[in-house]
């Protein structure tokens, strides 16, 4: 049987601490070459949805042999780049029937190749990004960190909070995002769901000033965190390459990255108004920095590099690019629990396999 799971199922099956643990274990395999991941790729074309939008077919995959699972994560996106506040954004449009987004994870068995499960990526996507930054916090922030300054109040921002709280005793979160209603709604909702004092502030500086941990969790393709805002002992992190200005990264005492791949493999068809390869924007941000000299989070986990040596250091974690490997590692936990608990729709595996040699 091939299991079809929903985002609701995924949310019930995988908590943030579970995901942090699953990634931490799997990254050890990655560090020693026992696990593998394939650089993300984006295939971009014009879309008849609108002249300003682009269509993007994105994929990334990875295998965790120890768990017997391979995964591919696929997105079929309509993307626009409006200006909001002072920066240009990457905004996905829910254009599929019923105003929905399209993102899928397919899990396969490395023992016999069979498709084990198919589920939308939305919930796992945010948990794994958060969990990765959570690992950054665990290995790079001060042990006594209590205050988080958060830039961004969208989907990715929520899991930044829960991830930090999974590895540190967080007492207070100050959140800024350009739209007042959004940041206030976020503060309200997150205070209720996490029990942490989450407060909306009117300026980004107010969020990060005096914070032990400054986290960017936005959809900006321009910088939103600046060198002047850094303070001794602070841990700064991002979920996208452009969020932290290069000068700030250079000013940090210690930097780690998620992966040494600095951008996806990008293929663009003629006529697509693709903004993310514009000068200094999106994937071209921080081009002057040599990412290959920074350790990866996996290096920190296996002790090849140190994340922090004393309480004064400013550390920086760049969650620069996602890995298909994360979907295999966390997906394996989701699948096992779904089977144990009898969750999801069963479809005949024969629909997704064949007798002819492909």
């Amino acid at each position: 049987m091939t299991l079809i799971l929903s985002n609701d199922d995924v949310e019930k099956l995988l908590t943030m601490p579970d995901c942090v643990e699953a990634l931490e274990t799997a990254y050890k395999d990655l560090a020693f070459g026992r696990g593998i991941t394939r650089q993300r790729s984006d295939c971009i074309a014009p879309t008849s949805y609108s002249d300003e939008a682009i269509y993007g077919l994105k994929s990334m995959d990875g295998v965790v042999p120890a768990l017997g699972v391979g995964a591919i994560r696929i997105n079929s996106d309509i993307v626009t780049n409006p200006r909001i506040g002072n920066t240009q954004r990457r905004v996905k449009v829910p254009a599929a029937p019923g105003n929905r987004y399209v993102g899928l994870v397919l899990l396969f068995s490395t023992a016999n190749g069979e498709p084990l499960a198919i589920f939308p990526d939305g919930v796992l996507q945010h948990i794994r990004v958060g969990a990765t930054n959570g690992l950054g916090v665990k290995y790079m922030s001060r042990k006594d960190s209590k205050i988080v300054g958060l830039l961004g109040s969208g989907w990715q921002a929520e899991t930044q909070v829960t991830a930090a709280a999974a590895v540190r005793d967080i007492k207070e979160v100050r959140v800024f995002s350009p739209t007042k209603e959004n940041r206030e709604a976020f503060a309200c909702r997150m205070t209720e769901t996490t029990g942490i004092d989450v407060r909306a502030v009117d300026h980004p500086e107010d969020a990060v000033r005096g914070a032990d941990i400054a986290m960017c969790g936005s959809n900006s393709i321009d910088p939103i965190f600046f060198k002047d805002w850094m303070e001794p002992g602070m841990h700064v992190s991002s979920i996208k390459k452009p969020e932290i200005e290069p000068a700030a990264i250079l000013a940090a005492d210690r930097v780690a990255v998620h992966t040494h791949d600095t951008s996806p493999i990008i293929v663009v068809a003629e006529g697509a108004p693709f903004q993310e390869e514009a000068k200094d924007k999106g994937w071209n941000a921080a081009k002057k920095l040599d990412f290959s000299k920074y350790p990866t989070i996996a290096d920190l986990i296996v002790g090849r590099a140190k994340g922090r040596e004393n309480d004064e250091e400013i550390t920086c974690f760049l969650n620069n690019l996602g890995l298909g490997f994360q979907f295999a590692a966390a997906g394996s936990v989701i699948y096992k629990r779904a089977v144990e608990r009898g969750v999801g729709h069963d479809l005949p595996t024969d629909w997704f396999t064949e007798t002819v040699h492909p």
Binding site: N7, F32, G33, I36, R38, S41, C43, A45, T47, S48, Y55, L57, S59, D61, V63, P65, G68, G70, I72, I74, S76, D77, I78, K92, A95, A96, P97, G98, N99, R100, Y101, V102, G103, L106, S109, T110, A111, N112, G113, I118, P120, D121, G122, Q125, I265, V267, A269, E270, G271, H345, T349, D350, W351, F352, T353, E354, T355, V356, H357, P358
Partner: protein, 356 residues
């Protein structure tokens, strides 16, 4: 609705001639920038059993005019076997019910929705065959009447269909090491093509009088050598090892599917493939594909096709591209739906309100 089709349904609606036409249009559009293609990626790790590996392969493409995008996935268990002195790379049907795992997911570029999910087998062989057919259209003699097929597997059938679609073939001969397989192939293709297909007992017997020769094997060692090359004949291969480097270099007009299409291969530490020892995954260093014309050059007229009846020509149809699945997969979707085939699943299962 998201449609699920099976191979039998797709086989019943896909005609080789239509596949060749849709790919011709696709290659011309790609050359004009009206599409995009992401090269094949393969990640390889240990599988459950000694002597086998697990490979997760993917490739994708998007075609702007038709509004289709697709990704093709393979989740393979791969092993190696010696047959008649040559090493074969074999996918093992290890999934429940002794089945292979290959899938195509077709999406709309208008709204992103998943239009269809289907196994890749039929589309896979039709696009390989149709691509070889396009090469043959420009490179084989117009009056080619006798064809040799080396190999009798799944891919060989599509090579036979493509040759028959492009030239007035009267005789077709097939050789493969396994007697039962080549005889079954001869029977099946005779019925399918309406041409007498005869099983032969050696490569040499199959090549007798051939105007076109199509290799379609799983061999990691050459099946066509230098001594096999004859004036006026068109040769094609679907794998780098099939035609020996000296044989390729002896051919007058050499064309390749794509000059630069090396896959992105990532492996776990220590995984070894038989191809590493044979050097068969990468095209031979003795053959300079970078200097050859590619298929699109033939289609746009940038490169000349066959110039005389006595020339020897070849088309090296090595590693495929995801874009072929976008073109042939889009056609398959339209034909299958027009024929009222398939099962529908709620699109909501494959879409979401949560921002990914």
């Amino acid at each position: 609705m998201t449609w699920i089709f099976n191979n039998a349904e797709l086989d019943s609606v896909l005609a080789m001639k239509d596949c060749i036409s849709v790919l011709e249009r696709g290659y011309l559009d790609l050359a004009a920038g009206l599409g995009g293609n992401r090269g094949r990626a393969e990640i390889v790790s240990p599988a459950g059993q000694e002597g086998t590996v697990y490979a997760l392969k993917s490739m994708d493409g998007v075609h702007t005019p038709s509004g289709y995008a697709s990704i093709r996935l393979n989740s393979d268990i791969i092993g190696w076997r010696e047959i008649s002195g040559s090493t074969r790379r074999e996918k093992i049907p290890a999934a429940p019910g002794d089945r292979y795992v290959g899938l195509v997911l077709l999406f709309s570029t208008t709204n992103g929705e998943p239009l269809a999910i289907f196994p890749d087998g039929v589309v896979q062989r039709m696009r390989v065959g149709a691509t070889s057919g396009l090469g043959l259209r420009h490179l084989a003699r117009k009056d080619a009447a006798t064809a040799a097929i080396i190999g009798s597997g799944w891919q060989a059938g599509a090579q036979a269909m493509a040759i028959a679609a492009e030239r007035p073939i009267r005789h077709m001969r097939v050789f493969s090491p396994n007697k039962a397989n080549r005889e079954a192939f001869a029977r099946d293709m005779t019925a399918r093509l309406g041409i007498e297909v005869v099983a032969e007992t050696s490569v040499e017997d199959a090549l007798r009088d051939a105007d076109v020769v199509a290799c379609s094997t799983s061999a990691l060692d050459p099946v066509i050598g230098h001594n096999h090359i004859r004036k006026g004949v068109h040769y094609s291969a679907i794998k780098p090892a099939e035609i020996a480097p000296e044989a390729i270099n002896a051919i007058d007009r050499r064309t390749v599917h794509l000059r630069d299409n090396a896959p992105l291969v990532v492996r776990t530490h220590g995984v070894e493939l038989a191809e590493d020892r044979k050097g068969a995954l990468a095209p031979s260093a003795k053959v300079d594909e970078k200097k050859m014309a590619e298929l699109t050059d033939l289609l746009t007229g940038k490169a000349q096709g066959r110039a005389s009846d006595s020339e020897t020509t070849c088309f090296l149809n090595y590693s495929g591209i995801g874009y072929q699945f976008t073109m042939v997969g889009g056609l398959a979707f339209e034909k299958a739906r027009a024929a009222g085939l398939g099962r529908e699943l709620p699109t909501e299962w494959f879409t979401q309100i949560e921002h990914p």
